[in-house]
Each structure stands twice: as structure tokens, then as C-alpha cells.
């Protein structure tokens, strides 16, 4: 007997993306909820192995296989079609009437010959089970669950190019995502009322509670190009509508043409190719291929039929479905809306999918979009705003996100064509020998994408590279990569520097952690290189250069306060309901006029650059603040934090490091403000984004921090700050640079002793 692996209890979506909260889906719970949807007794566990399809086979033989329609049913259909060929009396029938006649005759024959077709009827019964509940099967020795919608897609749906979908593990998780949205009634148990973010329990986990009403309107799928998500949504919605009485389904695209394409190519054409036994009676008035509306009704006999209608909006206008009652809604390419704002359109539509001011959700929406071809920058901005309001973890007191939808992102390397293994698995990293033989390559999808990016960089094709990144996003933020013409920072310099660092890895900042030597809480801070570390550092400190602090007014202060300045950004920047962002820190080495006098060539200047970066989210804010404190003590930097969040400031004060905090000073009077740090508001940010752009031009080539450079590429303006923690920190250091404090301290420093001062030596 073979050693099979049990089914994974948990499926995780958005896994590994630094900008997204991972969504954990319990597959057993999902199965139970599916049974509950149909008022059937819920199973207590997954089925036993011996009842799962493929049991008894060797793992390497266990691949997905399509259902085979019994010959009896195929012959029956053939005979009926032959009988109703357009000749003699059948000549008078229109094609659609003939099709309806064929369907009727098919069921009559089965009905009146139940003994003859007993096996076929049993098969059809089984197909109905799979369609509604999903199917269990073994894939390469592992028990696997696929949802009913995904099963329907794989077995009966066709893509617009007339091909049949193949089994992909990425699509399995995708379909679990949409089923989860349809059935989920949970939210986070403990939510911080101020930030709207969930709070962990004592074990570092998030508790969920069931509030017995749906909490999610649907998924917001940001996708790579040509992955078939549009067809998959249409399959899901057709599957639902063709077994639901009096349902209303709407499709809206970025334009009339786009919606027509979705309706015709992704819905009607595959519908017509469905086997007879899945087709409900549909309206003959629209002809064999309905142009605008697919009506599951026979207008000649109003007593019969589902009375269900699928149509599409002829524009992206918000009023198209305003006031309508919808069961399903598909918004296609909403990341590219030109004259409408997706926030407004979805804001209208979500009340079509629910009652009670959005509290009682009866419908399901789905958004599928790529973000390439952004001609109008506002399209990207609006959609980004929508995404920022759709983060899974940001819930209101009713358990919903601000938009009601949740972001589900699959990076381009997951399911990339040409990098799919023999069992439908995504080959992201280095393939196994078997996988390599199967795909004919010795590298995975990630390497392939990196190679493409490198080739764009070599060719200095920044436009092409920006487009490629948007079309093949490897992380959530890539979706919003602005084209060079609309980029705030000089893309060519940044890309060039990244390329240089790739070719010269010895120049790249070293990754590591700060720690308290000997574990003493207020002891000396040490640096420990660690490839998994939280910090990147790009300056070599001599032993006596570190931990240089002095006690002044019963509080520690940096011994040389004008040498380094850091700016931490504590978990989230400006949005009250933003994503669960990382904490960020940038420490800048200010211009050292002794080593780098004003007339020195810029390429040879060692200072006036960033030397420490940090983009990480520790379990607690306390831990983050301690990380910040250690970094500042180690290099002896003044700290100029963003004042919107006081956590770091409070921590420094509590630990006796008040004098490490940098206050803004009035340029005229020299008086300092009441609180240290800078206040993040639009006018300051906008002004300093321009300063940042100048800084990139001037010093960008000397940056040794790929994490910061990567954020520069994604940065498209103030709206992006929520997701660009390092850029926020960097802005803080630039604001600090212009603080009149440094003019004041310059004079003061003339009178202090320079004994023990050690100049910087490059190794």
C-alpha cells in the first residue's frame, strides 16, 4: 500500500507578500459551510482515504483527470440531434428552438427510460454532487480538495481560445479564495478601535469569531496578464446562475467594449459548449448566441425556467446597476477605469449585493484586474486607494473591510506558464530533477522573471521594465509600479544602481541584527551579521565608533549629535485604516565635511547617504521601538521619528534616551517645538518628495540598500507612502537635514572636546 499524505487543513492566501496579511482558510470549515449552504448534514472530518478518487494508485500516477461523459449519454444526444436535424418539419425551427427541443427531448428520454439509463443517471447524480460540494482526489500522493466551481471549470468550461483549462495548484487556491468569500461569516475577535487592526492573543495568534452573517462581499483579484481569471469568474457565476431561481448577475468592465468581450467570449461561448445536462432552458429571443442578455427562461412558457438573467453594463458608469438587486457582480479590469472611480462604482454596487445598509450580504462580487496600460495616473491612484481599503485584516466593528471586498493576490511566479510541474504545481524556485525534465528548464519562475528584469535593465528600457513589472507583479506593490513618465523618482538611476549592486554583491549592505551584549538590557549594543536579520547596514564602524553616548541632564545623548540622523516609521503611516504595514527605519550619514569637503567629487564622497535600513514588523510595537533604540545607540544617531505615532518617542523617554530625540527648531527664534520628530501631513510630504527626488539624482548611485531602491521604484507619490515604509523613513531624514538645529549645534560643537573622536576609515 502507498504512503499517502493527508489533506492540508489550512490553505494560506497572500502568503509571503510583505504588504499583505496572510489569509488562513480552514478547508474542513469551508467544506462544512458548503454543506450548510444546501441545508445538508455537515461532515465532521475529511473523507477517509479509500473513498477519495485515485486511491490505490501509485502517487506518480495520481494526476487530475477529467470526468468522462458516459457513451450512453453521448449517443443519446447524438441521436436526438440527428432526429432534429434541420429537415422536413424540423426545418421550420430556429437554431435556438431546435437546441431547446434537443434539451427537452434529452430529459424526456432519460425520464421515460430510467432502467435503460440507470448507470448514466447514477453518473449524473454524482456529477451534481461534485458540482455543488466539490471533489476530493489524490494528486501525487496527497489528498486534495477542489471546490465545485473549480471542478466545473476543469471539466466543462472553455477559454476564449477554445482550449480547456488544465489543473493548476494556483487555480485551486484561487477558487478556494472565492468560495471562502461566499461563505465566510467570521471576523477578528479583537480589533483595535483606533487603527481598525486586529490584535494578537497571548500566543501571538489572531482569534476569529463567527458573527453568523457574511462579512465579505467578494475577492479583489489583482493578477498577472493572461492567467484566465476572467474566465474563471464567469465560470463560477454561470455555474451559480444555471442552478438558481430568479437570480440576477451583472458584469461591468472598464468600457462597453470590454464588458461585451467578457460577456460574449468568456460567458456565452463557453456556455454554448456545455454538455446538454448542464444547460437550463434559455431564452430563444436572443438567438443561439445571445448578444446582450443570457436569460434562463422560456418566454413562450413563463411557468417553466429559472427566470435568471445575466447581463452587462454598457459603460463603467456607477449608475448602471444603481438600485438593482444583484446576486453576482463581476467587475473586470477595474484597475484601469478611466472616467470612473472604482471606489464609487463598487460603493454603489455593494448595496445591490446586500440589504440592511450592507449588513446583510446576499450576493457575491468579484473584481479581476491587471494594472498595465495605465494612461491616466488617476486610474492607478483610485484603484490603489480601493486596494488599501480592502486589506483583509482591516475590519470595522461590523466585521467588514472599508470596501467590503478583500485583496487576494497571486504573484506572477505562482502559476507562470511554462513553470508548471506534472501535477499542476507551481515551480517558483529551483525545480527538482523530475520537474526540470518535465518543464525542460533548470530554473524556476522567479529566476525567469528576474532574468527578464535584468535584461530590461541592461538595455536601460525603463518603460518596458515598468510595464513588465505591472504585467508580471512578483509582489502586491508591483501592481502599482508607475510608468517612468509618471514616476516621481528617477527610475533610470534607481534601476542602474540596482543592476550595479546585483553585479557587485560585495557592495550591497550587510544584513544583520542589533543585540545587547551579554543580554544586559541597558548594556552595550552589538552588531551581528545574519542573512535573516532585520537590518541592512552599509557602513563599517570601528570598535570605538559605536555606542558613543554621553549623559546630559540625566538622559543619554549621542556623543556626536550631528553625524547621523535616523527616522523611524512606526507601523503604518498616514492612513487611519491602512494595511498592516511594516515598521521602517532609515539612518542617514550626514555630510562629513572633514572627510568629504565640499569640493570633493560626488562619486568619491563617502558620507551623505543612507547607512541603515529596516523594514520589518516585529510582533509588538515595544519590540520595534527597542530595535530602533539599539540602532540609534549603536551608531550614535539622533532620532527624528514621525510624530503621528508616539510609540518610539515614549520608548526612548522611558528608557532614559530623551536626548537622542531630535526636535524641530524654529528657524528665526531658535526655539524648539514641544514634541520631537516630524508631523506627517500633506504639505510637508509633498514638499519633501521633491527634495527626495533631488536626493536620488544627486546621491542615488551611491545607495547600497536594494530594499530602499526597490521601494523607490514602487513609489508614485504621497498615496504610496502607506506601503513604502522605507521611503517614509527616508523622508524623515531629509526633513531632519533641514532642521535649524544643525546650525545651532554647529556652533555649540566648536566648544566641545574632540578627544576620542575617530575619523571614518573605509575598509
Amino acid at each position: 500500500m502507498y504512503d499517502y499524505q493527508p489533506i492540508d487543513r489550512i490553505v494560506i492566501l497572500n502568503q509571503g507578500d510583505p504588504s499583505l496579511f496572510p489569509i488562513e482558510i480552514d478547508q474542513l470549515d469551508l467544506l462544512q459551510r458548503t454543506y450548510r449552504q444546501y441545508h445538508l448534514p455537515e461532515p465532521e472530518d475529511f473523507p477517509e482515504f479509500e473513498y477519495i478518487t485515485g486511491y490505490g494508485q501509485s502517487p506518480e500516477m495520481q494526476k487530475f483527470e477529467r470526468e468522462v461523459i458516459p457513451v450512453g449519454l453521448q449517443e443519446l444526444e447524438r441521436a436526438i440531434r440527428k432526429e432534429l436535424k434541420p429537415r422536413n418539419k424540423a426545418r421550420d425551427l430556429s437554431p435556438v428552438r431546435r437546441e431547446i427541443r434537443v434539451i427537452e427531448r434529452f430529459w424526456e428520454e432519460l425520464d421515460s427510460n430510467q432502467d435503460k439509463y440507470a448507470d448514466e443517471i447514477e453518473w449524473l447524480n454524482l456529477m451534481w454532487y461534485y458540482r455543488l460540494m466539490g471533489k476530493f482526489l489524490f494528486i501525487n500522493g496527497k489528498a486534495t480538495y477542489i471546490t465545485g466551481g473549480f471542478w466545473h471549470l476543469l471539466n466543462f468550461w472553455t477559454f476564449p481560445n477554445n482550449t480547456r483549462p488544465d489543473y493548476r495548484d494556483r487555480d485551486r487556491r484561487w477558487s478556494i479564495g472565492i468560495k471562502f468569500c461566499e461563505t465566510c461569516t467570521t471576523t477578528f475577535k479583537d480589533i483595535d478601535p483606533d487603527s481598525g487592526l486586529p490584535v494578537m492573543n497571548a500566543y501571538g495568534k489572531y482569534d476569529m469569531i463567527d458573527i453568523a452573517r457574511r462579512t465579505i462581499f467578494g475577492p479583489n483579484y489583482m493578477k498577472a496578464r493572461r492567467v484566465g481569471d476572467t474566465s474563471k469568474i464567469e465560470n463560477e457565476f454561470e455555474e451559480f446562475s444555471s442552478r438558481t431561481i430568479s437570480a440576477r448577475i451583472g458584469i461591468q468592465g472598464m468600457s462597453d467594449e470590454n464588458a461585451t468581450t467578457v460577456f460574449q467570449e468568456h460567458l456565452v461561448q463557453p456556455f454554448l459548449k456545455l454538455p446538454l445536462f448542464w444547460k437550463p432552458i434559455f431564452d430563444a429571443a436572443g438567438g443561439i448566441a445571445p448578444k446582450n442578455t443570457l436569460l434562463f427562461d422560456d418566454l413562450d412558457n413563463i411557468d417553466f425556467g429559472l427566470h435568471t438573467i445575466i447581463d452587462y453594463a454598457t459603460s463603467a458608469d456607477k449608475s448602471k446597476y444603481d438600485g438593482k438587486f444583484l446576486h453576482r457582480f463581476h467587475a473586470d479590469e477595474f484597475g484601469k477605469l478611466q472616467r470612473s472611480d472604482p471606489n464609487t462604482v463598487i460603493g454603489v454596487v455593494k448595496y445591490c449585493l446586500s440589504l440592511g445598509a450592507g449588513g446583510n450580504i446576499h450576493g457575491l462580487g468579484a473584481i479581476t484586474t491587471t494594472c498595465d496600460e495605465i494612461l491616466d495616473m488617476s486610474a492607478g491612484d483610485n484603484y490603489m486607494q480601493f486596494c488599501n481599503k480592502s486589506h483583509y485584516e482591516c475590519r470595522d466593528a461590523n466585521g467588514q473591510t472599508e470596501t467590503g471586498f478583500i485583496n487576494i493576490f497571486f504573484p506572477a511566479q505562482d502559476g507562470l506558464e511554462g513553470f508548471i510541474g506534472p501535477y499542476g504545481e507551481s515551480i517558483i524556485d529551483e525545480p527538482t530533477p523530475d520537474q526540470a525534465r518535465f518543464i525542460g528548464k533548470t530554473y524556476g519562475a522567479m529566476k525567469f522573471i528576474e532574468n527578464k528584469i535584468a535584461s530590461y535593465r541592461r538595455a536601460k528600457d525603463w518603460n518596458g521594465l515598468a510595464l513588465f513589472r505591472r504585467q508580471h507583479p512578483i509582489c502586491f506593490l508591483d501592481v502599482f509600479t508607475p510608468p517612468p513618465s509618471q514616476q516621481v523618482l528617477r527610475r533610470d538611476i534607481v534601476e542602474d544602481t540596482l543592476h550595479f549592486l546585483k553585479v557587485h554583491p560585495e557592495e550591497v549592505a550587510v544584513q544583520g541584527d542589533f543585540f545587547r551584549v551579554g543580554g544586559i538590557l541597558d548594556g552595550t549594543v552589538g552588531w551581528h551579521p545574519n542573512p535573516e536579520g532585520r537590518f541592512f547596514m552599509s557602513r563599517n564602524f570601528l570598535p570605538h565608533e559605536t555606542n558613543r553616548k554621553i549623559m546630559r541632564d540625566r538622559s543619554w545623548a549621542p556623543a556626536v549629535p550631528d553625524r547621523f540622523v535616523g527616522s523611524p516609521d512606526t507601523f503604518g503611516v498616514s492612513k487611519p485604516l491602512g494595511r498592516k504595514s511594516n515598521g521602517g527605519l532609515v539612518i542617514r550619514w550626514r555630510r562629513d565635511f572633514i572627510n568629504d569637503p565640499a569640493d570633493k567629487e560626488m562619486d568619491l564622497v563617502e558620507s551623505e547617504r543612507d547607512i541603515i535600513t529596516y523594514s520589518f514588523r516585529p510582533p509588538t510595537v515595544e519590540e520595534f521601538a527597542e530595535d530602533m533604540l539599539m540602532a540609534h545607540i549603536y551608531v550614535g544617531a539622533m532620532c527624528f521619528p514621525e510624530r503621528n505615532n508616539m510609540a518610539v518617542i515614549d520608548h526612548f523617554r522611558r528608557r532614559g534616551y530623551e536626548n537622542f530625540l531630535l526636535y524641530e527648531h524654529d528657524r528665526v527664534t531658535g526655539k524648539r517645538r514641544n514634541e520631537p520628530g516630524w508631523w506627517n501631513h500633506s504639505s510637508i510630504v509633498d514638499e519633501y518628495i521633491k527634495v527626495l527626488a533631488d536626493d536620488v539624482v544627486k546621491h542615488g548611485k551611491r545607495c547600497k540598500h536594494p530594499d530602499l531602491l526597490e521601494e523607490y521604484l514602487k513609489f508614485g507619490g504621497r498615496a504610496y507612502l502607506t506601503d513604502c515604509d522605507l521611503v517614509a523613513g527616508k523622508l524623515g531624514t531629509l526633513i531632519a537635514e533641514r532642521n535649524p538645529y544643525y546650525q545651532l549645534v554647529k556652533g555649540a560643537m566648536n566648544h566641545i572636546s574632540v578627544e576620542g573622536w575617530i575619523p571614518y576609515y573605509k575598509e
Binding site: E50, W128, M133, D303
Partner: protein, 216 residues
């Protein structure tokens, strides 16, 4: 007042036409369709009085059925369109008749009806025909039809008991009608009465080896 409770459909009830129109074959246009459908029911229902009153003469049965539902005879003839329906010149109506007969769930009944029609058409043809050879063929057809009718009558009307049993059988079939159409499943889902064959948890579960179906 005649009792129509024994019939499959009440020929004069207001909802009868709508009920029958759920079948594709009944969706046709006719000048007086409700009356025509009434005629169809009392003419072809196996429990109709007309069958008992006119067991042998099909034309007599047709004529009296038509009169019973209200079609008028003027100068010895029905209206032209009525006559065309009665003598089987309208294909759509013929299909409706065939569909109606099949509703009884008795496999031999359509054949019996067909041979009865053939017999009467052949008898009419024999009266007009003068060609010896053709008469010989017609004669053979009539003999063959009589034989078949006799056979199928024994099968279909083989005694009160059998008929009652068949009726019960029919009712059973009606109860166990397949519920596999999307419309049927939609109704089950709507009424929370979904029936599915559960291969994993239900009593009909089977080991999960790849299934082989007959004829696959």
C-alpha cells in the same frame, strides 16, 4: 355531468392547457387551441368514455369527440382547419398527440395508436383504389395492422387488473421522475430539499478508485 377525474388531465379545466404547454410539443398555434386540446384529451386518454363507446370505429370516435368538445358540423362537415387537425394533416398537432400518449408511461400505447391510424387509413384507401396490385398491398397492410392491433390491445388493455397495475406504475414513475435538470436542482436548492448522492459520507459511498462506467 361527465366525470373526468379518471382522465390524466381534465379536458375542460382552465389550467389544463398551461400544464400541457410545459411540453415543447404543445407549444403551437391553432385557431381555437383550448378546444382542440380538450378534443385531444377525450379522444386519446385511455380512460376516456369515447374509447368505451366507440371501441372499433376510430372515425366515429374522432367525430363524436370533436362534437363533444363543441366543434360544429355545418352541411355535414367540420370547419376546414378542424378537419385538417382531425385527419392528421397538422404535424405539430400530431406531435402533441404522440407526446400525450407517451405521458401514460405505457410503452406499447404509442404503437397501438399508430397501428389503429394505419388500419383506418388503409381501409379508406381500399375503398378508393381500383388497381389490383395496389389493392393486394393494402389488403396485406390491413391484415398486418389488425394482427398488430390485436397484439398491442392484449398488452395494453389486458384486463382491468393489469390496467390498474399500470396506472399504479405510472403514478410511481411520476413520483420518481428524474430530478437532474438544472431547473429541478434549482427548485430543490430553493426549497431546501436538495437530494444528492454523497460519494464520501452517504450510504452509497464507494471506494475511490477511478470509476469505470459501462459503455465508457
Amino acid at each position: 355531468m361527465p366525470d373526468y377525474s379518471q382522465l390524466l388531465y381534465d379536458p375542460f379545466a382552465p389550467g389544463t392547457l398551461a400544464k400541457l404547454e410545459q411540453y415543447e410539443e404543445f407549444k403551437f398555434e391553432a385557431p381555437d387551441k383550448p378546444r382542440l386540446i380538450s378534443y385531444l384529451i377525450i379522444m386519446y386518454d385511455i380512460n376516456s368514455d369515447m374509447k368505451r363507446l366507440y371501441p372499433d370505429n376510430l372515425w366515429e370516435r374522432k367525430r363524436n369527440s370533436a362534437i363533444a368538445v363543441g366543434f360544429r358540423i355545418t352541411d355535414g362537415h367540420f370547419e376546414g382547419w378542424v378537419e385538417s387537425y382531425l385527419v392528421g394533416e397538422n404535424d405539430q398537432f400530431n406531435e402533441a398527440v404522440l407526446r400525450f400518449i407517451r405521458l401514460f408511461g405505457i410503452p406499447d400505447l404509442p404503437a397501438l395508436m399508430a397501428y389503429t391510424e394505419i388500419l383506418h387509413k388503409q381501409v379508406l384507401a381500399a375503398m378508393k383504389e381500383t388497381n389490383e396490385k395496389k389493392l393486394e398491398t393494402i389488403q396485406k397492410n390491413i391484415e398486418n395492422a389488425i394482427e398488430k392491433i390485436s397484439l398491442y390491445e392484449r398488452k395494453v388493455y389486458g384486463g382491468e387488473e393489469t390496467e390498474q397495475a399500470r396506472k399504479s406504475l405510472y403514478l410511481l414513475i411520476e413520483k420518481q421522475r428524474l430530478s437532474l435538470r438544472p431547473e429541478d436542482k434549482a427548485k430543490e436548492i430553493e426549497t431546501k430539499t436538495l437530494r444528492v448522492t454523497d460519494p464520501y459520507y452517504g450510504p452509497k459511498r464507494r471506494p475511490g478508485r477511478p470509476r469505470k462506467y459501462p459503455n465508457v
